[in-house]
Amino acid sequence: MANDLSPHAPQRAWYFTAPWDPVPIRRGDALGFRAGADYFADLLAPGLSNNTADARWISILSWCLQWSHAAWRSAGGGDISRRDDQRARYAWLRPLELLWVDRTLEAGQDTGQLRGRRSVERWRKADRRLPNFAMTPDQFRRYRQVGTYGAYRVVLRTVSGLTTGDGWTPDDTALKLAALVNDTLPRAARLKQEHFENGTKWGVWNQERHAEYWVKQGWTGWATIGGFLPTPDDALRNQLPEEERHILEPAIFAAGSTRRVSAEVLAGAKTAKTHAELCDALAASTTLLTKIKPASLAPLPAFTRFADAATHAMRGVWSAINQDDAKQAPNVDELARSTEIRERLERLRELGATWLRAPGRSTFPHEHVATRLAETMQAAGTTTEQLRALSRHHHEHGGGRRWFREQAGKLVPLVADTGIAATDYRFRLRPLARLAAQCGAANMNNALDAISQQEPDDEEADAL
């Protein structure tokens, strides 16, 4: 039952609290390098985000945008310049995103980028009767950011032809994709403009009943299986159907575009075995340099190795802190005696020295955070001092909740676990490579092998 309060009918209730399953807060910037990583990502893969993982969703979301636009306009929508207007617009889109997740599950497919899957599964178990797809009000509110549209909003806004630039109004390319998706659907699941033109009482559905509208009236055939679905995990390197590629490829990987050039450099790095080696290839590309100048990728190889070493050291410290449930605040001196920690910190120190000598470091706008850590590590003579330097850096420069802090000579844990936070700093190479593979822009198999080290598949996929 929703925890809502109507303004006119005094409401009273007594209740027990249901299990609270909050949308997890990602704590992914332990060292403050995220802005630097995003800087390189914007140079290499502009217009993408870390979660743009499946080009098929661009097609499906184009379909969702087209038909939610039709419903929203029919229901009286017209302006999206203000916050409340955009909320009203999104209210028509969100159910379609989630119905596509349901449709995928209905087809027996349980892999792929299925945001909201846990809730939709609960909804299905309850005969699709629970409000808001079995999400709590807070989860439903946050779905805009952590849901599928949230993951692809940057692409929809920035890739020419998908929307008019507002992220909402479908433009030529999106309309072509929407038509293609619609044509692949079984007849019972297809939508037509006429559906939105005959005697619907929009005022009723506009009262926070958007999901109910789509299920009961707007898209009653959503569960009829057939046609396009989100790409399952084991097919993410496969090319999409030709007609779909012909629309997507020129939009996302136009000839001569930065995304295209980056993808081609990655595809050409045949000997690269690691993410860092791919970065070497990108930094060495003169074609890419021409595309991005006056910016430079020269410091990228040193930056990525230094960032990886720092994250590796942080993981080592965290693991040592949490080895003993009963004694979770070990002495700094005691930790410094660990061979593994000593080796990780020493490696960090060495790569810090490399970073300080890196070419083009001064052209990198976010160099100061990395440089600060490198300098303090150089100044730290002993393992204990290095450990303290890392801890201080984490506390002063890290984003979000800190993992631990030194207090009275001990490293005190500050969070229950770091989970996803322990992932390395990356530059959107994986979404770029995946989309390039799906669109047939280049053969990305080697690059994807090199990239797929410790990275989680979809960082926020299990949020709801």
């Binding site: 039952m1 925890n3 809502d4 309060l5 109507s6 303004p7 006119h8 005094p10 409401q11 009273r12 209730a13 007594w14 209740y15 027990f16 609290t17 249901a18 299990p19 609270w20 909050p22 949308v23 807060i25 990602r26 704590r27 992914g28 910037d29 995220r34 802005a35 995003d38 985000s49 870390n50 999206i80 310049s81 203000r82 916050r83 207007d85 909320r87 709590t136 009000p137 807070d138 509110r141 946050r142 805009r144 950011q145 952590v146 940057v154 806004r157 992220g167 926070e208 984003g399 979000g400 909740r401 800190r402 802090r405 207090q407 005190v412 500050l414 996803i420 936070a421 960082e459 926020e460």
Partner: protein, 598 residues
């Protein structure tokens, strides 16, 4: 209200609701992480989420910071003084925006009530939502415990009347005493809530049951219902003795033999954590007094939705009063202890709050399985009572900052040992202050290194409190937004200011430094300059109109009015930096409005 619902613990706004003020109480120190990451974004209906994407993260904190700035002085949290050394806070800046008070200003007290009160504006209506429960403002209370809650939402009339307060019964004196105990500033805040009660109609079939430290035994409030038996389910049971049980049962009007305590066996899953507490001596004393201790079966569930696999333990405090014809349920914060209720001449030590109403829910009553040793043995454990008072002579402290001076106050039972304090500032600096006759002051004007917390010491005793920020809005706006790159703070502040008055939606694309080209926020890409000038003018005057409406609405509220004027000054500064005839006209209009309202 016969059977309980099963609801999300996180409060949400009514549809279209805008938060005007909030009061929240907690026994335990409020968890800033819970408030920043979940509770406040939910109450404020935030559009952005705390993400690891730098852009979204900046927008989240920009939105939260500016929304909280608008509500500064309007979100009040009252808790008990911290009993243990406080954990390092992830978001110490939160208490600049949310005022955190502790009880004990006038005499020793424990704040154990769990009251949330929200004043909402929904269209032209105003609502007051009250939540009375067992829920502390901590992550473990939300995630690891099952809570029982009572909630009501009532429409507010335009004017308050003194008579309208009467039906709220013990609730009003409870709020008055709580304010007094939390200091002068808190008293003002709670007076505003009491005024709202005067504008609301109290539901006619409920009764507030409240404990006030030093007041009369709260059990006497139960006697009017002529209970023939009382069934008790609370996770913490006090150190009862024969005399105390007799006194409590006399106060409540029910014989000890008609008191049914529901308790767990050693095999119950809830015995595995530190939540449920009954000492063996208290258990034996209760039995000796005739109290019936009945076993809560391991498989017992509160509702159909309550699953066996649910790993949470019950923190609910429920009392079922059975009389000749009716059953009434009390949903409360009060454990069954003398500290919570008082007994006979012994006054309660705690602030407690509950709501009693008729109910047909019989689950509590029907739990009456006996313990059958050796298979089922009552779970006895000796550990510190959660309400056990801080054994400290340093009983209360407060630190507030008005932008010029930091004012420190403390109350101690020890009048001879000097009291000192160390003030922590953002950026890590510290400053010592000595108190004389319980008060001290420190000149401080730096808006970028704000005082965050003060740790008071007296001999071996310490007490740490969060600094209450009482600066006027014009001074407060000089403090950078929290958790945001300082280079972005100003532009974010302006973007959200415009959005608040109907300007363009704040998105990464509209913020230079976050993804947009350096074009002023709220202006479109110029294609046809004559049309563009007209569109800019229309958008700008729409913002001014919204601001003027908000200013008119705030005229009877001095604090809000001051904030609106500050917004007007900031809008004027923003448009002054813009070029073009539209901006000039807007500046002129704003100047005229600000002068007119001055």
């Amino acid at each position: 209200m016969s059977t309980p619902d099963w609801r999300d613990v996180l409060p949400v706004p009514p549809p279209g609701g805008q938060l005007l003020e909030a009061w929240l109480t907690s026994f335990e120190d409020p968890d800033a992480g819970l408030l920043v990451e979940y509770l406040l974004p939910s109450l404020l209906g935030a559009s952005h989420s705390l993400s690891q994407e730098v852009q979204e993260r900046a927008l989240f904190f920009g939105e939260l910071g500016t929304a909280l700035e608008r509500l500064r002085g309007r979100i009040t949290v009252i808790s008990s003084p911290p009993r243990v050394v406080r954990e390092l806070s992830q978001y110490p800046w939160l208490w600049r925006y949310v005022s955190h008070f502790i009880v004990g200003a006038n005499s020793r007290a424990v704040q154990h009530a769990k009251l949330w009160a929200f004043h909402w504006k929904v269209g032209d209506e105003e609502l007051l939502a009250l939540h009375v429960s067992s829920t502390n403002l901590t992550t473990s209370a939300f995630k690891k415990q099952i809570q029982a809650c009572w909630q009501v939402s009532v429409c507010l009339s335009k004017r308050a009347t003194v008579n309208a307060r009467r039906p709220w019964g013990e609730f009003v004196p409870f709020l008055e005493a709580l304010g007094t105990s939390a200091g002068a500033v808190a008293t003002e805040r709670l007076e505003r809530l009491i005024t709202l009660l005067g504008r609301a109609e109290c539901p006619d079939d409920i009764t507030f049951v409240a404990s006030i430290p030093g007041g009369k035994s709260a059990a006497r409030q139960l006697k009017q219902f002529e209970p023939s038996e009382i069934h008790v389910l609370t996770p913490t049971i006090g150190e009862w003795n024969d005399q105390a049980v007799d006194s409590w049962s006399t106060d409540a009007g029910v014989a000890p033999g008609k008191l049914h305590l529901k308790w767990i066996a050693t095999s119950h899953p809830w015995a595995k954590n530190s939540g449920w507490t009954l000492s063996e001596s208290a258990g034996k004393a209760l039995e000796a007094s005739g109290v019936l201790i009945e076993r809560l079966p391991n498989a017992a569930r509160f509702t159909e939705e309550h699953r066996e696999a649910d790993p949470r333990w019950s923190h609910a405090k429920l009392y079922l009063l059975r009389s000749r014809r009716k059953r009434r349920l009390l949903v409360t914060s009060a454990n069954w202890s003398v500290a919570a209720w008082g007994a006979g001449k012994t006054a309660p030590h705690n602030f407690e709050l509950g709501v009693l109403f008729e109910s047909e829910w019989t689950n509590l009553e029907s739990i009456d399985e006996p313990f059958a040793p050796p298979d089922t043995v009552p779970f006895y454990v000796d550990r510190a009572d959660e309400e056990e008072e801080r054994a400290s002579t340093l009983e209360w402290a407060e630190a507030s900052w008005d932008g010029k001076f930091l004012h420190l106050s403390a109350r101690s039972l020890d009048s001879t040992t000097p009291i000192t304090a160390v003030v922590n500032f953002s950026g890590g600096a510290e400053a010592p202050v000595s108190l004389a006759s319980g008060v001290g002051a420190l000149p401080w004007k730096d808006p970028e290194r704000t005082p965050l917390a003060a740790r008071f010491s007296q001999g071996g005793e310490t007490l740490e409190v969060d600094v209450i920020d009482l600066r006027p809005p014009s001074d407060f706006s000089k403090t950078p937004l929290p958790e945001v790159d300082p280079a972005l703070a100003k532009v974010l502040r302006e973007a959200f200011l415009l959005q608040r008055y109907g300007g363009p939606v704040v998105d990464a694309d509209s913020i230079p430094g976050l993804g947009a080209a350096s074009r002023p926020i709220g202006t479109a890409v110029p294609t046809d300059y004559s049309v563009q000038a007209w569109l800019d003018a229309r958008a700008a005057f729409s913002v001014v109109d919204s601001w003027r409406d908000a200013l008119d609405e705030a005229k009877s509220e001095p604090l809000t009015l001051e904030r609106m004027r500050q917004d007007g000054e900031e809008l004027r500064a923003l448009y002054t930096r813009r070029e073009g005839p539209a901006a000039s006209l807007v500046v002129e209009e704003l100047r005229w409005r600000l002068d007119e309202k001055a």
